[in-house]
Structure formats: structure tokens, C-alpha cells
Symmetry: C2
Subunit: 226 residues, 2 copies
Amino acid sequence: MTEPNRIAATAALLGDPARANMLAALMDGRALTAKELAFAGHITPQTASGHLAKLADGGVLAVEKQGRHRYYRLASALVGQMLEGVMAFAGPEPARATTWRGGEALRTARTCYDHLAGRLGVALADALTARGHVALGMDGGEVTDTGAQFLDEFGAAPASGRRVFCRPCLDWSERRPHLAGRVGAALACRCFDLGWIARQRDTRAVAITAAGRDGFRERFGIELDG
Amino acid sequence: MTEPNRIAATAALLGDPARANMLAALMDGRALTAKELAFAGHITPQTASGHLAKLADGGVLAVEKQGRHRYYRLASALVGQMLEGVMAFAGPEPARATTWRGGEALRTARTCYDHLAGRLGVALADALTARGHVALGMDGGEVTDTGAQFLDEFGAAPASGRRVFCRPCLDWSERRPHLAGRVGAALACRCFDLGWIARQRDTRAVAITAAGRDGFRERFGIELDG
DNA sequence: CCGACACTTCGGCGTGGGCCGAACTGTTCC
DNA sequence: GGAACAGTTCGGCCCACGCCGAAGTGTCGG
């Protein structure tokens, strides 16, 4: 198969509404069962089964059998980045301000594959930038020495070693880059561990707990109205 | 339209072989006429016209009328990055080494939207890294002070100002990151201006000129066998 | 003005693929 | 063992969409 045809085959996998919905549901990095994904795709389990088989066959999803359940998840970080790329382009409804179902919660805080996005995500990036802990641009980003120290203290030290880069990820609701890559993943993971944020059923939106409200204010100076 | 549906609609645009071929032809950043794109997509002009209208309508392509010609090009850098993301995932034929039509030339040196890729692209990235001019990782990259000075002398200074980041772009043939973003674009542009490389008809592969062979050896220590 | 050319629109054909109901496989739990 | 449940496979329906030939619009050149 030629290269463009592989592109087409891959894109076609993402190009069906039911599959796109299922993939969007998996963008929070969790593994879901076939039934849950059928619900996410607004289709019956039989139909979902066919779609999931195609996605797995195409290397987009990885599947893990566990008893009578089958857990599907994005096959690799490359898949997450590919979807991010499409989302960054497809972006939010152009111009005309809409409030769609559950939109406000999603805009406030959500996960983006393995890191945080939405107003919380960009606020974190802004706070770390303002304090000189990270430098972030459209093209790339980097953790400074004080930043590495801060993250270490915070318990979100990315695997140490060479220079630590932050991959920027274009936020589709805020239209600005936020922290992704290893740094973003470590930060999000630590926030979950601290109980500052919590996943919710059937949505990528995350809830900010009372502890989180305090924590984000004290450690990052972030005040989220709402 | 909900967010996943916009993802699906966008991906569906890329998910047709004829359209994927046309987009691949546009990945070198040039603007092509409808007829040229019909050839690239292996379809008749009527069919191409329909596809191009859809792509333009979806914001993927920008069109410019010029006399009786219509020049189509990728609408924005976001489109290029989206396609890069899909290509990075769809990647080369898995494992089994194939030599496809024009494959060797493409593997040696090609353009990737607005920067250089292939063996030449990663060799440039390696050379600049080895000399401490840039630091590049999977997640991000940065131009050092000596690097900024070097690029300035070379005539490929990216718009100055704040810290200069390099966006890494996963090379689908070498499976390693090479220089993209503003830095990669400036570098590629300068190499074209110097006459070190030249575009070729009907392919994204670029030819390395005699001057280029010398130049890359002298300035970057790059010796390309072949 | 008229032919050549680039490109688009229209109309009709064919097929690929999404959809679901029904039936089948495999696991869990009592 | 049998009921309940997750998930898949099968078969048939149907529509969306890609395809091209033919015809229409607009631009260039003599």
C-alpha cells in the first residue's frame, strides 16, 4: 500500500461519527469496555463490535481481555497525538458562541489523553510560566532548573536525566497551548493522586474537588471562578 | 455539531484515497492547480473538482484564483501539523522492508509541509544537535545561544525575540524527530535559496545539488552516500 | 469572434460500508 | 447445570458517496 493510501485508510477509521465518538471517549486515556463504547458511539453493541474490530485491526486501539469483558484503549501516545492534531484543526465551533451539552464543564477542566486541558490546563501552564518554571511556546517548551525543582517537590517529577521538554498541545477550547508530553502527564497524574481532581462518568470533563480548589490556589495561585 | 462529529467530518475529508493523494501532493507547501491535483489523485478533473470543493469548504484547503487557473494549497500550518500527526501514526509499511515507487529518493530527502525530512532532515537535526546548536527530544526542542548565532550567520535566523523553540516532527521513514516549526521552515527555506536543494516535479522528494553536496559537508559535516 | 483550455455543474450508475435483528460463543455466578 | 450477561458473527437492508460522460461557465489568445 502506498503512503497516501495508508493515510487515507487511517483517516477513514477516524472519519465515522460512531468511531469518532468512541475515540473521543477514550481520549481521557482510560480503557473502556465494548458496551460502554457502544453507548458513547450511540450505536448498538453489534455495530460497535464491528467498529472496534476495525480500529483494533488498524492499530488505533489496543484490546485487553479480562474475564468476559474486553477493555479497549488507545494503542499508543502516537494515536493520542494524532487525535490532538485533528482536534486542534477541527477546533471548536467557529465563532458563534455555542453552549453545547456539558460544554461548560468540558471548557473548565478536562483530560486530553494523558494531561489536563481546558481553563484549568491553560491556567496551570500560565502559572508555571509566570513563575519561570517552564517556558512554553507554540513550537515547543522547556522546564527550567527551578521548574524541575518545583515539580520534584510537588511530586510530579518527570523521569529525570537530560533536558526536560514540554510538548505543547493546542487547546481546542482556549485556542492556546497547554502542557502536554511527559511533563503534562506527570502533572495530571499527580493532581489525580492528590485528589485535587476526579474523573467523572461518561465525560472527559474532570471535577475539581474542594481539596483541589485549595491546592490550586495555594500552590499555583489559580482561582477558578465557577 | 458536536465536537466528535466535527472530528469525524474532518477525518472523513482526509479519509478518501483520492483526497489523501491530493493532500500528500500539497504537503510540500506549494500551491497546485486543480488539474495537477486531479493527476495526483489519479482521477478525472470533474471528480477532482468535487473533492477540492469539499476540502476547501471544510477549511482544509485555501484556493486562489489566478486567471483561468485555480491554485489550491493547504489552508494553514494547522492542516500541515494535522497531516503530520496522521502520517507519524500511519507511518511506513510495518516491518517488511519495501522499496516502493520513488521510495529511495523520498527516503533520502523530501519536504514535510515547510521543512526538510528524510535522511537529510534527520542528518541536519543530528549535526546541529552534535554541535550544541539545538537540543531536540521527542517532546520538544530549543535553539541554544550558539545555535541562534549559527543560524543567523547561515542566513536562516528565525524571527528573533523570545526563546526560540523547535517543534519536533516525527519522521515517518526514519522514525526519529527532525526539525520542524519556525526553525525548520527557516532552515529549509535558506537551503532552497542557496540552491543546495531543488524541488522536483510531481514528488515531494527534493534533489540535492552539487552545491548542496559541498555545502552540507562543509557547514554541517553531512556526507550523504547516494 | 471563435477556438482552446481550465474548471465546474449535472445526472445517472454502482458499490462500499454502516446499521440493526437474530443467533452464536464464552464467562460469571448461584 | 442454568440463567444472566458481554461480546461477536451473520445476513439483509439501504443510503451515502465516489466515479465518469456530457454539458455549461469563464478566461486567454489570435
